[in-house]
């Protein structure tokens, strides 16, 4: 990715020493990072490394044990409701209601975020046109191909114009062509000033990100642009960076 002139841009996610313990177990161990407006952050880590717990804290679902963090300028302890209003979220399940039509889903989620009927109407027209889904407006989700569902779920997550969108493994179970198209959609969104926070297990996708964070055992072991990380670990691909990290920790433990 071309380096952005980041000095003029605002920090939208700022995390300092954020920690979450469950009993004796420290799921997230004093992580710190910041993400600027319009950046794409690839949030990587093996399963169980603490990614989900970190996301749950940043999306206002879980209270941190200690540390500080602001999301869209709001505090994760005291302003969880405000955070929820200013973020979008899409999970790997592309969670739409299968027994509702495309438009009914848009209307429902629009309503959840407090959009007016008129706004929902105009936004859904615009959204369907952009995705080329006008013909499917009144079709049930259950009949849609996975790739369309994925794009639709992403667009629905952006319906209320959030500052940040959290994508939890947004390309799981999707074919490579569709994955590539989906990343085009992500670039477009980021170019419009929306910050994208994405988890993924695909290392080729990590290369597409502005910045990458790799969590291991609750800590962020690597953080930087894909190129910087590859230089730091003296390898040629993100895949190797990841394996290098995983190996070093499995030897140390």
């Amino acid at each position: 990715m071309a380096a952005k002139d980041s000095s003029t841009e605002r920090v939208v996610i700022d995390v300092r020493d954020l920690t979450r313990r469950f009993g004796d177990f420290t799921a997230v161990d004093s992580i710190s990072f910041s993400v600027k407006r319009g950046e794409i952050l690839g949030f990587l880590g093996a399963n169980g490394a603490g990614k989900t717990t970190a996301i749950r804290m940043l999306t206002g679902l879980l209270e941190p044990s200690s540390g500080d963090a602001t999301v869209a300028g709001f505090d994760v302890y005291r302003q969880r409701e405000a955070i929820k209003k200013n973020i979008g979220y899409m999970s790997q399940k592309f969670s739409l209601y299968e027994d509702l039509t495309v438009f009914e889903n848009i209307r429902f989620y629009g309503g959840v975020y407090g959009l007016t009927r008129a706004t929902i109407k105009s936004k859904s027209d615009e959204l369907l046109e952009r995705l080329g889904l006008q013909h499917a407006r009144d079709h049930r989700i259950s009949g849609l191909p996975l790739g369309w569902r994925q794009k639709l779920a992403f667009s629905v997550a952006l319906l209320h114009e959030p500052e940040i969108v959290f994508l939890d493994e947004p390309t799981g179970g999707v074919d490579p062509v569709t994955r590539r198209q989906f990343w085009d959609l992500i670039y477009e969104t980021a170019a419009n000033g929306v910050t994208v926070f994405a988890t993924t297990h695909y290392m080729d996708e990590a290369e597409y990100c502005d910045r990458v964070s790799i969590m291991v055992d609750g800590r962020i072991e690597a953080y930087g642009t894909p190129n910087a990380l590859k230089n730091q670990f003296e390898v040629s691909s993100m895949d190797d960076v990841f394996i290098r990290l995983a190996r070093s920790t499995s030897q140390s433990s």
Binding site: L61, L62, K84, Y89, S95, Y97, Y113
Partner: protein, 371 residues
């Protein structure tokens, strides 16, 4: 052959590693056997019986003692007037009354015949019949012993028993089933459907989206539950109208009070549904828990069909935590006995308390899932 054996082994691994299946596999037969073996008995024991005995001499004392001494009955003592008996029936102190005619002993001694009224609570027709039969046997024994030292009694002599039924004179079993059916259907629609609909959102992943949205957890819960609340209420109304029009079941008490109590029970069932959904990850589990944990007790331990009084002590104790048990006492009171709130305010209070506890627990466990 080896691969086949491997297959069998794998299947056993599935079974033994899933403790829920294991519980259902081995727990259900045991629970069902105990329930069906002990709870489902139409013979009765310890029926509370009251007497109206204007005579109170050794003859009537003898008969009363015999009734009290049998394992089927427990004497609640003498009542002074028929009104007192009626009140005791209404508040459930007694379920049978034996009324002696004023000169019972005199007539029996001199004419060799006297009459006796046996009044039974007919809200449960099966039990009423059984109570009646048991009373009859005791009276016959009493009469045989009495006349044994006399000359053999001519056929027309002896005690004439006049059996009557309170609340349900024709012993229609539909009277028994309608209140129970209301409880059952409300449990089914409210608890089962609620637990399924919430777990479905979990399975689909839409629950995650809802939780991340600005909706408050309480809004999500109420939003999920409200439609079922309305549907359940429509259900109750339909059953009541049908019962009235098709089966001619009376609603002797206040309809408004009846509906209010039904609303309370619906709330209780909905809370149970939310609680179940908070504890289960899949629709399947929710269904299983609802069916085995709610429907079975509602049918068997509520007094719907089988009398709680004649169950073993331990089942009687367990029946106290079955909401339907209290609900049934209440709606039978309103529909069949026609009594007012003063007769079942305690049951209502218990039900309200249960609902409050369940609701708090369900909302709390829903929130815990958030953290």
């Amino acid at each position: 052959m080896g691969s086949f054996r491997g297959f069998i082994v794998k299947e056993f691994h599935h079974i033994f590693r899933d403790y829920r299946t294991l519980v259902i596999l081995f727990g259900m037969p045991v629970i069902q056997l105990i329930l069906f073996g002990y709870a489902i008995r139409n013979e009765v024991s310890d029926i509370q019986v009251g007497f109206l005995d204007p005579v109170r001499d050794e003859l009537t004392m003898d008969l009363k003692t015999r009734i009290d001494a049998s394992s089927y009955f427990i004497s609640k003592g003498d009542y002074d007037t028929l009104d007192d008996i009626e009140r005791a029936f209404q508040d459930g102190t007694i379920r049978e009354a034996v009324v002696f005619e004023p000169d019972f002993s005199h007539k029996l001694r001199h004419d060799g015949s006297a009459s006796l009224s046996v009044i039974a609570d007919g809200t449960n027709p099966n039990i009423a019949n059984t109570m009646n039969a048991y009373t009859l046997v005791i009276v016959r024994d009493f009469q045989r012993d009495l006349l044994a030292d006399d000359t053999p009694a001519p056929a027309e002599r002896g005690i004439v028993i006049d059996s009557r039924m309170r609340f349900n004179p024709e012993l229609k079993s539909i009277f028994l089933f309608v209140p129970g059916l209301i409880a059952l259907i409300l449990m089914l629609v409210s608890a089962l459907m609620t637990s399924i609909t919430i777990t479905r959102e979990k399975e689909l992943g839409t629950m995650e989206i809802l939780l991340v949205s600005p909706l408050k957890p309480i809004q999500i819960i109420v939003g999920k539950v409200l439609p079922y609340f309305l549907l359940s209420f429509i259900n109750v109304s339909t059953i009541l109208v049908l019962a009235r029009l098709v089966f001619h079941i009376p609603i002797r008490g206040s309809v408004l009070l009846l509906l209010a109590e039904c609303l309370l029970f619906i709330l209780c069932a909905l809370s149970l549904g939310i609680l179940i959904s908070a504890k289960s990850k899949t629709q399947q589990t929710a269904t299983m828990i609802s069916l085995s944990g709610l429907l079975l007790p509602t049918i068997i331990l509520s007094g719907f069909i089988f009398p709680i009084d004649s169950m073993p002590k331990i089942l009687q104790v367990i029946s106290h935590i079955v909401p339907a048990k209290w609900f049934l006492i209440i709606i039978r009171g309103i529909m069949l006995k026609g009594v007012g709130f003063e007769y079942f305010w305690k049951e209502t209070l218990i039900l309200a308390f249960m609902t409050a506890v369940l609701m708090t627990a369900s909302i709390r466990s829903f929130k815990i899932r958030l953290d």
